[in-house]
Amino acid sequence: MALTVILEFLGGAEFLFGHVKHHTVSIEKGENKLNISQLLMWIKENLLQERLELFMQGCTVRPGILVLVNDVDWSLLGELTYEIEENDRITFISTLHGG
């Protein structure tokens, strides 16, 4: 089974994704659920174009990148453990780019 997810990279994070801000992707997940931790692995392998260290640190996003799920701070949703639903919109905003 595939899951459709809308991914947005903003505030400078788009530079790591070929300067493209909006991506609608279909992720094969089988019968399992997909959480953000697994989504990050998928992004790392399928979408990220350069400089992994500017996007991820260990198995999570680099501190200083704001993550929102349907415009809600992921800190309120269990961060890496949040289980993604069909058509969720997940936004990554870098706070580290030019003031």
């Binding site: 530079f15 680099r62 704001l66």
Partner: protein, 392 residues
């Protein structure tokens, strides 16, 4: 079950506030964010009625949000300020185009007057012309020094009472860490002050966002759909400032009050009596605050205008001596003549015995000197350092 806002206990929370860890809804977030800035402005007496205030506008997130919030608060609380946007155009082909476009849109969106001053206006030289003259390796010194003074020079020429900059709590904490690590006592004192340059010679600079978290600035801009411009990454992990920032962020992940704690520590530190501090005077040429007879920008300009562009790419105190020597002798002071190493220009190939080998770029620190960092990491897309590390 969606989490409810801890303030109104009615609407759905969508942001966890970094300062307090409390969940807030959109409206309560806007309100708290603006109120806290208003409170900062009031308690620190940042402005007086009738003042002409230049908002240093780069088109980036901090200054864009600052312009929007100051405009809002000025109307809501009737500060009676005469606000306008002041942008600096370094004169680098292609580089400012997008950010200046953003500032021009902000001018329309927020209905604020805009003044753009170029390096040509301020210094008689554009960055492009400087790069042409000196090459790319040393332009970092120029852009750092010129940028630091540009707003002040511009504001002086426009008869401004105060300059407001978008430096936020994260920036301030990061600068405190850097100044401690570098032992820069004078800057440590200055960077914690919410108003700086408050003396007859300079135009005071104020930081209404001193206690405002970067995360909230970005979230505010995002939810309000404010139009800002992001530059290519300036916090490449290898740069000194990048390390300081990463360190802060790592600490913050463990202890959410880290940023405020560091600012508090910085404010509490005082310099022991008897510690030698640089004496600040006025530059004899331009009147800008300086610890030497001539300020660094004037020295650099002197070099450019005399066709000696390397002049001043080093310590100002040494340069002031050199300036006197220049007419007597033009030879390199360094022993390593064969590698073209001189006091002011240390190429990457300088031998490890060279006394100047470890000298870092004042603005990008180890970045230029570290042999592990390739040139193109910095200069691929931009001709100059894109730093917002303008002196706090």
């Amino acid at each position: 079950m969606p989490l409810l806002c801890s303030i109104c206990k009615d609407k759905r929370a969508l942001l966890k506030r970094p300062k307090t860890g409390t969940p807030v809804c959109k409206d309560c977030f806007y309100w708290a964010f603006e109120c806290e800035i208003h409170h900062t402005i009031q308690t620190a007496n940042l402005f007086k009625r009738g003042e002409k205030v230049a908002i240093g506008a780069s088109g980036g997130k901090d200054s864009t949000v600052l312009a929007y919030v100051l405009k809002t608060l000025n109307e809501r609380y009737d500060y009676g300020l005469n606000l306008f946007l002041l942008s600096i155009d370094e004169g680098i082909t292609g580089y400012r185009d997008d950010s200046l476009e953003t500032v021009k849109r902000n001018q329309q969106q927020y209905d604020l007057p805009l003044k753009v001053l170029s390096y040509q206006d301020l210094y008689g030289w554009s960055m492009d012309a400087i790069v042409k003259q000196i090459g790319r390796k040393n332009n970092c010194t120029f852009c750092g020094v010129f940028r630091r003074q540009a707003l002040d020079r511009g504001a002086m020429s426009l008869g401004v009472d105060k300059i407001a900059t978008g430096h936020n709590a994260d920036d301030v904490a990061e600068t405190i860490i850097m100044n401690i690590l570098r032992g820069d006592i004078a800057r440590l004192q200055r960077c914690t002050a919410i108003i700086t340059g408050d003396d007859p010679s300079g135009i005071p600079r104020v930081k209404p966002f001193k206690y405002t978290y970067e995360k909230e600035i970005v979230a505010y801009a995002y939810f309000k759909k404010l139009d800002y411009f992001s530059t290519e990454c300036i916090y490449a992990p290898n740069a000194y400032r990048g390390h300081a920032r990463a360190y802060l962020k790592d600490l913050e992940a463990i202890r959410s009050s880290t940023i405020i704690d560091i600012i508090h520590s910085g404010e509490m530190m005082s310099v022991k009596e008897g510690v030698k501090m640089p004496v600040q005077t006025k530059c004899k040429k331009c009147g800008y605050i300086s610890s030497n007879e001539f300020c660094k920008a004037c020295v650099l300009l002197e070099g450019l205008n005399k066709g000696l562009p390397r002049l001043g790419v080093g310590k100002t105190s040494k340069v002031n001596q050199q300036l006197k020597q220049v007419n007597d002798s033009k030879s390199c002071e360094c022993q390593n003549k064969s590698t073209k190493c001189c006091l002011n220009n240390v190429p990457k190939t300088a031998p490890s015995s060279c006394p100047n080998r470890s000298k870092n770029c004042e603005n990008h620190d180890a970045k230029f000197d570290s042999p592990s960092v390739k040139d193109n990491q910095m200069d691929k897309t931009t001709k100059i350092c894109l730093t917002n590390s303008e002196i706090l």
